[in-house]
Symmetry: C2
Subunit: 420 residues, 2 copies
């Protein structure tokens, strides 16, 4: 039995939740005593925090249109179904790194989940200059577990194809990525915006940059056709809530079976945006130097720990249909397989670096920007940070194959900052 959809509000939500014994017990007291606060600052959904005498929960409801744009841009409610499916899958592989699910109602497109406190959106912490010593290890673990365990390296082909089919209907969310990430920043598009007039020149340059556009379109084709693993699909620092001790990855409504490097690139690209944004946030010139350094160390650590964990998982669970163990026995087989894993990781590094660059550009020349840069009030200063980010991003895309490690990426990032 599915519930008929209606957008909920602080008046109607308690009634819905009070019918769920588990949620009701978690909140405690009478529904009339609950407080409801709408806190959605994302682009797509309603997000409520409901607090009762005994505890709190979060209720996330999809709207039938893009919240950022309005009802002129309809969007299917079933993204909530895909989000719930992805969240459940992620919880299996990376328990403790996603919010707990208390309830899902497909008809209402409503997910009731754990209220995370005192977690904040990571992006806000990066703006404040807060260090999160466990973040890199946590996000690396999340990516290694979810990407490896939903890949053909871990799964029999039939299960892999079943998941490909299960997410194949999440087309409208994928289309947002296809349009806003891979296409619009490279053409005149109504929804594009940037810090004008300061970036008018570089925006025009990018629209004329044939080698750059070709590389981005190759990556778009990869996004359209590569079914490597179930990816989060929107793994920026606004999809991460954390404290210095705890990290949770939220909002996987863009999930589908796609290229692994897209998730890794999202994390790396958003760290690099935060790196360049520091100039706009430092109290005096140089006061964020140590923090800048910390961000780049995390960028390297994310890749380092991811690689380590991914390879450990691969060694421990050669259960998929690709590279079956019995094909590579004895010392020679082991050596050949070891070399192949290195080749695999190098290609994934290349993919990730290129996607990182693409994700950076869309946040500066496309529709949806990030608070890291948007919160820099002085337009010339913001444009300066953005131009540096764009300069590195372009290089990451054009030269992705040439970087042999993430340390070379951070080196390039420093060089661009130094040449400001």
């Amino acid at each position: 039995m599915t519930t008929a959809y209606r957008a909920l509000n602080d008046g109607t939500l308690p009634g819905v939740l009070s019918a769920l014994p588990d949620v009701r017990a978690r909140l405690g007291g009478a529904p009339e005593s609950w407080t409801v606060q709408e806190v959605g600052d994302g682009n797509l959904n309603l997000v409520f925090i409901i607090k009762g005498p005994a505890g709190a929960v979060v209720a996330k409801q999809a709207l039938p249109y893009v919240r950022l744009v309005g009802d002129s841009w309809p969007l299917p409610l079933d993204r909530s179904y895909y989000e719930h499916m992805a969240l459940s899958e992620q919880a299996r592989h990376a328990p403790g790194l996603v919010p707990k699910i208390h309830h899902f109602d497909r008809g209402l497109a409503l997910i009731v989940m754990e209220y995370l406190s005192p977690h904040i959106i990571m992006r806000k912490g990066l703006i404040r200059g807060t260090e999160y010593p466990l973040f890199a290890g946590h996000i690396a673990e999340f990516m290694a577990q979810t990407l490896f365990n939903t890949s053909a390296l871990a799964l029999p082909a039939a299960e892999h194809k079943q998941r490909i089919g299960a997410f194949a209907g999440n087309t409208e969310l994928c289309k947002i990525t296809e349009d806003l990430v891979f296409t619009d920043p490279y053409r005149i598009a109504k929804l594009n915006r940037w810090t004008t007039p300061y970036l008018d020149d570089i925006a025009a340059e990018f629209r004329r940059d044939e080698p750059l556009k070709i590389k981005v379109q190759e990556r778009k084709l990869q996004f359209l056709t590569s079914a490597e693993a179930m990816i989060h699909g929107d793994l920026h620092t606004g999809s991460i809530m954390l404290t210095p001790q705890d990290t949770r990855i939220i909002d996987p409504e863009f999930a589908f079976v796609g290229p692994m490097g897209f998730d890794i690139g999202a994390v790396i690209g958003n760290l690099l945006i935060a790196y360049y944004a520091q100039t706009g946030h430092e109290e005096r010139i140089g006061s964020r130097n140590a923090y800048r350094h910390w961000i780049l160390l995390q960028t390297e650590k994310v890749w380092r720990v991811f690689t380590k964990r991914f390879l450990e998982l691969w060694d421990a669970s050669r259960t998929g249909d690709a590279y079956m163990p019995e094909l590579f026995t004895g010392p020679e087989g082991a050596a050949a397989f070891a070399a192949e894993k290195q080749r695999f990781m190098r290609k994934l590094l290349t993919d990730s670096i290129s996607f990182a660059g693409i994700k950076m550009i869309r946040r500066i020349l496309g529709l949806a920007h990030t608070e890291d840069l948007e919160s820099i009030k002085d337009p010339p200063l913001r444009a300066k940070c953005e131009r540096q980010a764009l300069t590195l991003a372009r290089r990451l895309i054009l030269d992705a194959e040439r970087f042999s490690g993430m340390n070379e990426v951070t080196h390039a990032a420093r060089a661009v900052l130094g040449s400001r």
Copy 2:
């Protein structure tokens, strides 16, 4: 309403067909006057030719197990559903190059289709030394039309993903390919067979050849994860029926959205098998020299015409979400896109050459062999042909990236024959 499944025979089939007005009219006369002949020489299905006073039809029915092996190897009847879906799609893009469908019954796993006469299975023609002047152009057209028009180059992403989902359930047929093509020939497997003892040494060598096995496993991963276009999935010369004037591609039950190069490689690999088999069929040494030459010319022509037609279709229908035209305008955009198309075709050539080699090996060291070689009665002579084919195949896989054109492949093929 679906019919309950039961395997049909020459006694029960006329009753089923007589209930179909269109088929009944096509055959003419009373069902009692129809003749039924079971002619299935494939590995999986029942195939009947039904003839009446006015005409004839073919009825293909899936069996719930692999015919070649027996009921110890069950296989889902729904492959008939996927075959019908693929055949319908192919008919839209390449009308005249597939048999017409008269009726489909999902419950019976039965496709009633055009009776092709005087067409023969191409493999038999290749054994006889028959030239088919239109074949290369026809198969190239078929592949260009079906691969391009079901790719993200031609289709909006949502439609591409819809088709990925529609075929995602055809896992058991894909698994046959994954096991028999990409895995078994490289390990001790009960179902393997080869011309023993003559090929025992090379079979053992291949099982120990780490670089070869690594390359093949890379291709298996590509087969598992690359959703480029709807492929036929089993496009060998036994899936082609033809006359010198007419060509029809049959049996697409292995269809799914996979790597384009797998289809092209199947055609190329099977032509190269036919090339090496000529030594076993020539009346006296050298009497098939002209025919050998013809086969290699066709191998080159298939790729040449395919490339030409694929690029023409791409130029004419830039309707997909990848490489949208408005991103590449003016002379510089056009030049960049032209170069990118060349890069795309070069990668597709590499893929095709590697898959060709893989398809050759499975036909000599794996379960299912081809009549080209099996019909050579003298084991040492057969083994000699097979060893040549294996030698070239290994090189195609290991050096796929180094071939810059199909003429270099045929050159290598000749060199292996010359060194016999």
